[in-house]
C-alpha cells in the first residue's frame, strides 16, 4: 500500500488550471520532495490531500484511506504543516497543542505533547501566548500541531521559507529522525539543496503537471552535466572548447564535460593552444541545474 496515492487529479479555479491530471505515489517510509516554481500547483495538491481543496476529478488516498469517502481515516493518517504562518491568538502554546490533539479525539496526550515541546525547543514557551512568539517559534508550533496525532504521513509545505539557519537545521534534524522512525515525509521547498540532501525521490511540477518524477540520484545523473571552471592567465580558448563553454561573471570559463576523464583531455587541448591556467575547479552535478533544465524544457512553445 502506498502512503500517498494520487491518481489523475484535476482541479481548476475558474479559468486557471491548478492541477491538470496529476498522478504519483509515495511509498511508506519515503522522503519525498515536490518541487516547482510558484504557481505550479504544489500547494493545491497538498491542500487536496488534506481535504482543504476538493478536486474536480481524480482520486487521492493516504495510507489507503480515500480523502473524500473515508475522510476521517485519511485525516488521522496525515499531518500537514501549512505554508503560511497562522495561529489562534486566544491561546497559549500548550493550549494550542491540547486543543489540536482534542480535535483528533486524543484527550490524554500530555506525554507526547511534552515530548514535542521538548524536541522542537518550545518547552520554555509552553505557557506563552501564541501572539508573543517570533515567526520561527510560531512555525515550530505549527510543526508540533501537525504531529500531535502522530500521523504516519507528514507533509511540510515550504517549512523553511523565511526561517533562520539554526531553526532550519534543527527542523531538518527533527524531520530526519521522524523519517528514520518510519514516518513518510513529503515536502515542498524552494531550497533545492535541501531537497537534494534530504529526499530520496523527487517530483517536479509545472503548470499543474508533473514534469519529472524519479529518484534524486537518477535525476541528477540523467539531466545534469558536470562542469569545470577554468580561469586563464594567458591565451584564448581553442574553438572546439569554446563551443561548449560559457563565460561567467567572475571571468572564468564554464566548460561542460562528459565525465572526469574528459578533464584531462580539455587541459591537454588548452596547453596545446598555449593557454596558461590560473585556477581550475570541477563541479558536481547540482539539482538546481536539473531543475532549471527541466523547467526550461517545459516552457510553452510559440
Amino acid at each position: 500500500m502506498a502512503a500517498v496515492e494520487v491518481r489523475d487529479v484535476h482541479k481548476r479555479f475558474g479559468a486557471v488550471r491548478a492541477l491538470g491530471g496529476v498522478s504519483l505515489e509515495v511509498a511508506e517510509g519515503e522522503f519525498f520532495a515536490l518541487l516547482g516554481p510558484n504557481g505550479a500547483g504544489k500547494t493545491t495538491l497538498i491542500s487536496a490531500l488534506g481535504g482543504l481543496v476538493r478536486p474536480d476529478s481524480g482520486h487521492l488516498a493516504i495510507m489507503g484511506h480515500d480523502v473524500a469517502r473515508d475522510f476521517r481515516g485519511a485525516r488521522r493518517a496525515v499531518g500537514i504543516v501549512p505554508q503560511e504562518i497562522v495561529f489562534d491568538p486566544f491561546f497559549t502554546v500548550r493550549e494550542t497543542l491540547e486543543i489540536q490533539s482534542g480535535y483528533f479525539g486524543l484527550r490524554r496526550n500530555a506525554a507526547w505533547i511534552d515530548e514535542l515541546l521538548e524536541r522542537l525547543g518550545l518547552a520554555s514557551k509552553a505557557r506563552a501566548n501564541m501572539r508573543s512568539l517570533s515567526g520561527g517559534m510560531k512555525r515550530r508550533v505549527m510543526v508540533a500541531q501537525a504531529l500531535v496525532h502522530r500521523p504516519p504521513v507528514i507533509v511540510l509545505d515550504e517549512p523553511t521559507a523565511g526561517v533562520d539557519v539554526e531553526l532550519r537545521q534543527a527542523l531538518w534534524a527533527f524531520v530526519r529522525s521522524l523519517n528514520a522512525a518510519g514516518h513518510t515525509i513529503v515536502l515542498t521547498t524552494h531550497y533545492l539543496e535541501e531537497a537534494e540532501q534530504l529526499c530520496s525521490r523527487i517530483a517536479m511540477m509545472k503548470d499543474g503537471r508533473i514534469v519529472a518524477l524519479d529518484t534524486t540520484a537518477r535525476l541528477l545523473a540523467s539531466f545534469s552535466e558536470r562542469v569545470m571552471r577554468v580561469k586563464l592567465e594567458q591565451g584564448e580558448l581553442p574553438p572546439a572548447i569554446a563551443l561548449r563553454s560559457s563565460a561567467e561573471p567572475s571571468g572564468a570559463w564554464r566548460i561542460a564535460i562528459d565525465d572526469m576523464a574528459h578533464v584531462e583531455d580539455v587541459l591537454a587541448r588548452l596547453r596545446e593552444a598555449g593557454c596558461v591556467v590560473a585556477s581550475l575547479e570541477v563541479g558536481e552535478p547540482e539539482l538546481e541545474e536539473v531543475f532549471v533544465k527541466i523547467m526550461h524544457a517545459h516552457e510553452p512553445r510559440p
Binding site: R54, Q100, F104
Partner: protein, 251 residues
C-alpha cells in the same frame, strides 16, 4: 473519540477568555436600554394589561441581548478564523460538517444563555419580575439563541471581510431584532405592520419568551414555538448543506 467536545470547549473558552467584552458588556448595554427606555416610554406605552412597562421591557431586552450575542459569537469566531487563516486547524482534523456545526452552535447558545442570565441577575436587584412558565421561557431561550447562532455561522461562512459581516449585522440582524416587538406589543401596531411583524421569526422568539414570564402574549406560544423552531430548522439545514459542500471554506 470525536473531536466535537474539544471544538465546543475551544469555542466556549474563546469567548470566556474575553468575557468582559463578550458577557459583561452586553449585560451593561441592556441595562442602559432598560434605564433609558423605561423612563422615557413608561408613561406612553401600555403593552399588556396589568403589566408595568418596565416589567414588559425586561424579557424583550434580555431576549434581544441573547439573539445578538448568539449571532455575534459564531459569526465573529468564524470570520476571525477565516481572515487570520487558522481555520485550517479546524478543517484539517477529522471533524464532520455536523460536528463543526454542533460545536459553533452550542457555543453560541452557551454565550447567549450566559448573557441572558447576566441580565436577569442584574435586573433582579432593580425590579424582580415573575416567571409563570419557566419551561416556556427556557424553550424560547434555546430556540431563539439556536436560530441566531445558526444565522451567525452562515454569516461567518459567507462573509469574506469584516465589513460584509457588519453589513449582515446592521442590515439584517439589527432591523429584525428592533422590529420584533422588544419595546412594544405588536398588537398596538397598525394592521399592516402587524402583518409584517408576523413574517419576522425574531418576533416569535421574543413574544413566546415573554409569555413564559407573564402568561400573556400577542399570539399563542405553541404557534410561536413552532414558527421559531421551524425557522431554526431551516437555517440549520442550510448551514449543514453549506458546511458539507465546503462553501467558501474548502475550495
Amino acid at each position: 473519540m470525536s473531536g466535537f467536545p474539544t471544538l465546543l470547549y475551544k469555542e466556549v473558552l474563546r469567548f470566556w477568555k474575553v468575557s468582559f467584552q463578550t458577557v459583561a458588556a452586553p449585560v451593561l448595554t441592556t441595562l442602559l436600554y432598560l434605564l433609558v427606555f423605561a423612563h422615557a416610554l413608561a408613561a406612553h406605552v401600555q403593552a399588556f394589561p396589568g403589566v408595568p412597562y418596565l416589567h414588559f421591557l425586561i424579557p424583550g431586552l434580555a431576549m434581544m441581548a441573547m439573539l445578538q450575542n448568539a449571532f455575534a459569537n459564531s459569526s465573529s469566531s468564524i470570520i476571525q478564523s477565516k481572515i487570520t487563516g487558522n481555520m485550517v486547524f479546524i478543517l484539517l482534523p477529522p471533524l464532520s460538517a455536523l460536528e463543526i456545526f454542533g460545536a459553533y452552535l452550542l457555543a453560541a447558545m452557551v454565550r447567549a444563555l450566559t448573557v441572558g442570565l447576566g441580565v436577569f441577575a442584574a435586573t433582579l436587584w432593580i425590579v424582580p419580575i415573575p416567571m409563570q412558565h419557566p419551561l416556556w421561557t427556557l424553550a424560547f431561550a434555546v430556540v431563539g439563541a439556536g436560530m441566531l447562532g445558526t444565522l451567525g455561522i452562515i454569516a461567518g461562512i459567507w462573509s469574506e471581510k469584516f465589513d460584509q459581516l457588519a453589513a449582515f449585522q446592521n442590515f439584517l440582524v439589527m432591523p429584525l431584532t428592533f422590529l420584533a416587538g422588544v419595546f412594544y406589543s405588536v398588537h398596538t401596531l397598525p394592521p399592516f405592520w402587524q402583518a409584517v411583524s408576523r413574517l419576522n421569526p425574531f418576533f416569535y422568539a421574543i413574544d413566546g419568551f415573554r409569555y413564559g414570564f407573564f402568561g400573556q402574549s400577542d399570539i399563542d406560544p405553541a404557534a410561536s414555538l413552532a414558527f421559531a423552531a421551524g425557522a431554526f430548522a431551516v437555517l440549520s439545514w442550510t448551514t449543514l448543506l453549506l458546511l458539507r459542500r465546503g462553501y467558501k471554506l474548502r475550495h
